[in-house]
Point group: C2
């Protein structure tokens, strides 16, 4: 049975909210009624933040990361190593790698990974512009940091082939057991990988 | 460690989203990035739906339910029994009762229940206007349909005292085991209530 809303404006707001991923009509109603209890200015600020972002957002013309400027702060930071590119699927992944504080090179945001099931082919992701960056000659290493899934593997394979003719090292991030994992509960594929990719023990 | 966002506009939109109840910064980022993938018009429609609702929303001057008109569709519906008022805490509760299709009277939305812990006293909820409605003389029954909590009980008690001087029946919704409940798993207070409030068996 569909809910009957006492107001068309309420109905409209709820249906807009429930279009968001992971938000059903019940949560949407809760969010909208929360909005109604807030001050006018707060609600306006909320609406404005979303529409302003949408209209004024830019993407770095070098790495395609989201940015307020033509070239993003990472690409224009002279203290960063501009001979290394870390290839990631999306903006969240840039943030995830940055958070580790273990990487000081540049990025390349593909905007997706090859997934025939979802109709995403090689031409739907930003591989050509990556090849162009490598072609410029300055890049020494490309690190593939994609998800450890079939789609990620496919994309890794495609990119590595595209870069095969250039004088650039192509590496993938290590796969193995997570820090804190207990062997007993690790799946066998991951454990197998971590044995094959074992590294010298450092004291 | 706080996340570092590549864009101030993104940061602003994420922080606005994460003010919503039950939405953390990670979900907020996911929602905002989803917005970025949608069309301009869709995002504008979203922003507009929220701000329009906030600016143009009205509350029925009779029952305080949310409404697009001065008097809500329920209060102005001549087919409804205007001698019975069902008292509820909020708008969601009106929708919940309506959904049962078991009630054909009017409503009165308190806008809260008495909760000293949350600083909500009798004067913060719409009891005076309920008394006024009863005073008008037309009302034969007031049904208290509040949550079965200490706050609900307190509010029931307060309202029933306020209405004590008037020629009106005051009832509360039945408390007992839920439809589909197994006795074995029902808490003893609820089960006790359902025995005390037993009703004649109808064949």
């Amino acid at each position: 049975m569909t809910d009957k809303y006492p107001s068309a404006l309420l109905e409209k707001a709820v249906s807009e909210f429930s279009k968001l991923p992971g938000i059903g009509r019940k949560s949407a109603l809760r969010l909208v009624l929360y909005m109604l209890r807030r001050e006018d200015e707060e609600v306006d600020a909320f609406g404005r933040a979303i529409t302003t972002l949408k209209h004024e957002v830019k993407y770095c013309r070098v790495c395609h990361n989201i940015s307020d400027t033509e070239v993003c702060p990472i690409c224009s930071d002279v203290r960063r190593d501009d001979t290394t590119i870390c290839v990631v699927e999306n903006i969240q992944d840039v943030m995830a790698v940055e958070k580790t504080q273990q990487y000081n090179g540049l990025y390349h945001v593909l905007g997706g990974i090859i997934s025939p099931m979802d109709g995403i082919g090689p031409n739907d992701i930003a591989v050509e512009s990556l090849v162009e960056r490598v072609k410029s000659g300055k890049i020494k290493e490309v690190i593939l940091a994609l998800s450890s899934t079939m789609e990620g593997d496919t994309t890794n394979f495609y990119i590595s082939r595209k870069l095969a003719g250039f004088d650039v090292a192509v590496s993938v991030i290590a796969r193995g057991i997570s820090v804190g994992d207990e062997l007993e509960y690790t799946d066998e594929v991951t454990l197998g990988r971590s044995i094959i990719n074992r590294t010298p023990f450092k004291q």
